[in-house]
């Protein structure tokens, strides 16, 4: 099968994905060696594996790879490929990460939130950000999202994702 990942077409051997039943997470990590997307729980509870599929934040540990064929997948490797995304820049400025393991998923969820809602309130951030961070970086995640929202409003261009809903 062919996968569209970070605006590239990547052929993947069907047999290597157990005929498409393998979760996208493990295809990314163990078949394509794109290890930026993390494994945390395997049951869509922690969000460490969050990627975007057609712009929507999706938990890749419970998404069979067959379900994303023909769709645009974006991983952390593609988020700031050309230039750091506003959330990545804000994460650096707010010094968000500690161990950093959950942050790929956190950033993908935050990028997805800001695309849907360019100026989220605290309550909307609460609602959208359900990822688990064991180091407890949440306060800075919140500050990072607000900072990125301001940067975007001030004219930081976000590159629209190919195939994303208008």
């Amino acid at each position: 099968m062919d996968l569209q990942i970070n605006e590239k077409t990547l052929p993947v051997n069907d047999a290597a994905t157990m005929d498409g039943t393998m979760p996208l997470l493990w295809v990314l990590r163990d078949v394509l060696n794109m290890t930026g997307t993390k494994f945390g729980c395997g049951v869509a509870a922690c969000g460490a594996c969050t990627v975007r599929v057609d712009g929507q934040a999706v938990r890749s540990c419970v998404t069979p790879v067959s379900a994303v064929v023909g769709k645009q997948v974006q991983t952390i490797e593609g988020l700031g490929a050309a230039k750091l995304h506003a959330v990545q820049q804000a994460w650096i400025e707010e010094q968000v990460p500690q161990c950093g393991y959950c942050q790929s998923g956190m950033l993908m969820a935050a990028a997805s939130l800001l695309e849907a809602n360019p100026a989220p309130t605290d309550a909307q951030i609460d609602e959208a950000m359900s990822n688990i961070c064991r180091c407890g970086t949440y306060q800075r995640v919140r500050a990072g999202i607000h900072r990125a929202a301001k940067a975007l409003a001030a004219g930081e261009a976000v590159k629209p994702l190919q195939g994303a809903p208008a």
Partner: protein, 753 residues
């Protein structure tokens, strides 16, 4: 046996292992340059510092980065002494020489009471332990000790390198050392300047005797919030954790350990598993590192291996001593704590007599459950055994113990093992263990030289942890006829941790008899309050549940017991909880505690009016030589506590990076709040019941309070920061809930429904 005799005889026993250690000179931790294995173009100045061809400074890094910021804080010390920008210092993983061992952690493990500070016994004990730790040189990241240890090793090494460079520059430039100016990797004098790279070879040949550490007043970096060096790679997905290691020809392994702790696999049928295309083999795993036995399945990807593991039909066998049950253990602990006895860690004056003469007594029974670490990155280790050499890629807090354990399993010499320490996706004490390392090596024996990455599922990780031991404590105070607290007695019971860890990870130090374990009694026997009569004892049990160090260790539950009870005493004597603490922090030693307490109270607006339905609670606790006070603001929302704000004040000595200190305050509050609200591991029939995050709840962003950090300025040497903000949170919250509801919570977690 008396406490003192016990401690010193214990130390002597360990010391006797070292031939002639008593007459050996104190080991210098500076080390020789060859320890740094300089590559072409690099020049090592000592065992910690080398200069690269481009003039940048490379430092040996023996500590693991698990989020606590050590890969930023330690290079800051080097940059400061050499007057280079932080970006000019790069880290290289250190070797295993004893100079890289963690001396501060071992010295801090001595069970001395703070009132003994400066006594001959303490000085002798610390001297002996320090010497011993330097000899043993155990490389470990733990005990909130990295900066404290580096303050006396890394900084001296960097200052020595500076003196070496200065002497070489002086000769080259024809200017006296005093006239030289260091700036950005260049040394100037007499109108000329020369960079580190051009001086390095000469500097390496110089021996210096007059090394001065930079005066604190001249610090340019230390004390300022430098951005963390590891952040850029952690926002673009390139940071490499253990699970991210990818090697040519690598296969993957999933573990399937006996669900019953301490149990093992009996007969099993792997036919269905091996029929899955991409599943290649099933390997039996013995009870590694004191853990539970089981199986591992090798597959083409982690997912193949996991599918294989799921397809194996196993008849599991209970451990020979019978099934473990946490409810029964917790009942037993209550009985033992109520009876008292055990080892008296602290005794002051005569608590028995005070109780007999008291007009009334206040007594309460407290308890805390088993807890799992649940690091975000599950346990994993990559191993390759090829041509008699073993290479590991592992997120570990104990690379040297990992090496030793792996060598034993592989049946090769330690020198034939190479350990690559990756970034750690959380540690919290779980990665002080070597069980998963041993398992990876067992599997690597069956992969014909190919590297194998062994990965725990979340379920295996949560059900095969080394748990924070459950504890119970009886606390009793007597009140004299003037209404003042006359005595405080604490009797606690629970498993000792250090002897079990030694058995698993450091067998050299495991004795036939368990020595008293400070880590289980810390935070109870060393309270700063001035109650005239005190008696604190701990009964060390051995319940059979694998137990380990969990962020802040004994303090994690003991502070809940002691600071909740102190709050009870305030109410029992009709005193404001802040005022009560102030009244009893009267010793010279407690001045520091008082300052921290006052700062937290002031910043939180203690005593000021709060919104309707909100209340404040306060707690203050010393751990890892730092003092943290917290004021928690809580309300009830739909019948459960909602924490709105936590104001933290901290004295951790000289602050190296206040940004990282704030991060650790924020992170510790969240970590401790998850545990206080929901944290509980239940073991039924030997099986851990909480198997994944939905059953072992973690605080989420929407539930996270605003956390404020306030520092008490200090020029004392640095003390711990990774753990000390965990202990006060649970009691501060419980005390706030009491203020709000009038109901006293004496067991954790607070939400049990």
């Amino acid at each position: 046996m008396k406490r003192r005799t016990m401690i010193l005889s214990g130390l002597a026993g360990v010391g006797a292992l070292l031939v002639g250690w008593g007459v050996m000179p104190a080991r210098s931790r500076l080390g020789k340059g060859e320890l740094l294995l300089p590559q072409t173009g690099e020049v090592a100045l000592n065992g910690w510092i080398k200069i690269a061809q481009d003039g940048s400074v490379l430092m040996a890094m023996p500590r693991s980065e698990m989020g606590q910021g050590v890969h930023t804080a330690l290079p800051m010390l080097v940059a400061e002494e050499l007057d280079v920008p932080l970006s000019q210092v790069r880290i290289v993983q250190s070797g295993m020489d004893a100079i890289y061992g963690n001396v501060a952690m071992f010295v801090a493990s001595l069970p001395f009471h703070p009132n003994q500070d400066g006594s001959t016994l303490v000085n002798t004990g610390e001297w002996m332990t320090g010497k011993l730790a330097r000899e043993l040189g155990v490389i470990v990241t733990g005990g909130s000790s990295s900066v404290a240890d580096a303050w006396g090793s890394v900084r001296i090494a960097a200052a020595t390198a500076r003196a070496q460079l200065a002497q070489a520059a002086s000769a080259k430039l024809g200017v006296s050392v005093e006239q030289l100016v260091f700036d950005g990797g260049k040394i100037s004098g007499g109108g000329k300047s020369i960079n580190f790279a051009a001086l390095a070879a000469d500097a390496a040949a110089v021996s210096v005797s007059d090394v001065k550490l930079k005066d604190a007043k001249a610090f340019k970096l230390v004390g300022k919030a430098a951005p963390r060096a590891d952040v850029p790679a952690k926002v673009n997905g390139t940071a490499q954790f253990g699970m991210d290691v990818r090697l040519p020809g690598m296969v993957y392994a999933a573990v399937k350990l006996c669900p019953m702790l301490g149990g093992s696999p009996g007969a099993f049928n792997a036919d269905a598993a091996l029929k899955i295309k991409g599943v290649e083999r099933v390997v039996q795993l013995p009870a590694a590192g004191g853990g539970t036995a089981g199986l591992a399945v090798i597959g083409a990807t982690t997912w193949h291996a996991r599918q294989g593991a799921a397809a194996i039909d196993v008849q599991w066998q209970q451990r020979p001593l019978g099934a473990l049950n946490s409810e029964q253990i917790e009942k037993e602990l209550v009985q033992i704590a109520t009876q008292g006895g055990g080892f008296a860690f602290h005794s002051r004056s005569d608590a028995d007599a005070a109780e007999q003469g008291a007009s009334r007594k206040v007594e309460a029974l407290y308890s805390a459950p088993y807890l799992a670490h649940a690091t975000m990155e599950p346990m994993n280790c990559t191993a390759q055994l090829k041509d008699g050499k073993l290479t590991l890629w592992v997120p570990t807090q104990v690379p040297q113990m990992a090496r030793d354990a792996a060598a034993k399993v592989a049946g090769i010499g330690k020198d034939d093992v190479t350990v690559n320490v990756t970034l750690l996706g959380g540690g919290f004490g779980r990665r002080l263990e070597v069980d998963f390392v041993e398992q990876a090596v067992h599997v690597a024996k069956h992969t014909a030289g190919r590297p194998v990455q062994l990965v725990y599922s979340r379920e295996e990780d949560m059900t095969h942890d080394v748990y924070r031991p459950a504890h119970a404590a009886l606390l009793r105070a007597s009140v004299d006829t003037n209404g003042r607290i006359a005595s405080l007695r604490i009797q606690s019971a629970g498993d000792a941790i250090t002897p079990r860890w030694f058995e698993r990870a450091l067998p050299l130090l495991a004795g036939p008899v368990d020595a008293p374990d400070k880590t289980t009694a810390e935070g109870l026997f060393d309270l700063p309050y001035d109650f005239g009569h005190q008696h604190m004892s701990h009964s060390a049990t051995k319940m059979g549940v694998p137990v380990g160090y969990w962020r802040s260790v004994g303090h994690s539950h003991n502070a809940f017991f002691s600071e909740s009870f102190v709050d009870e005493l305030a109410h029992a004597t009709q005193t404001d909880p802040l005022a009560f603490r102030r009244q009893h922090l009267t010793s010279e030693h407690a001045k520091r505690h008082l300052a921290v307490l006052n700062l937290a109270a002031e910043k939180a607006g203690w005593g000021k009016k709060l919104p309707e339905g909100h209340a404040h609670g306060i707690a203050m606790h010393e751990s890892f030589n730092s003092v943290v006070a917290q004021v928690v603001q809580v309300s009830m929302l739909n019948g459960v506590p909602r924490v709105h704000k936590v104001v933290c004040a901290v004295d951790c000595g000289q602050v190296v990076n206040p940004g990282i200190v704030a991060q650790q305050m924020e992170g510790s509050v969240v970590y401790a709040l998850s545990a206080a609200l929901w944290g509980k591991i239940d073991i039924v029939g030997g099986e851990v019941q909480q198997k994944n995050y939905p059953q072992y709840r973690m605080l989420k962003l929407s539930e996270t309070p605003v956390v404020e950090t306030h520092l008490v300025p200090s020029t004392a040497k640095p003390t711990g920061i990774g753990e000390p903000a965990v202990p006060p949170l649970a009691p501060a919250l419980a005390n706030a809930l009491f203020a709000l509801t009038g109901k006293r919570a004496r067991s954790l977690p607070l939400i049990t429904a």
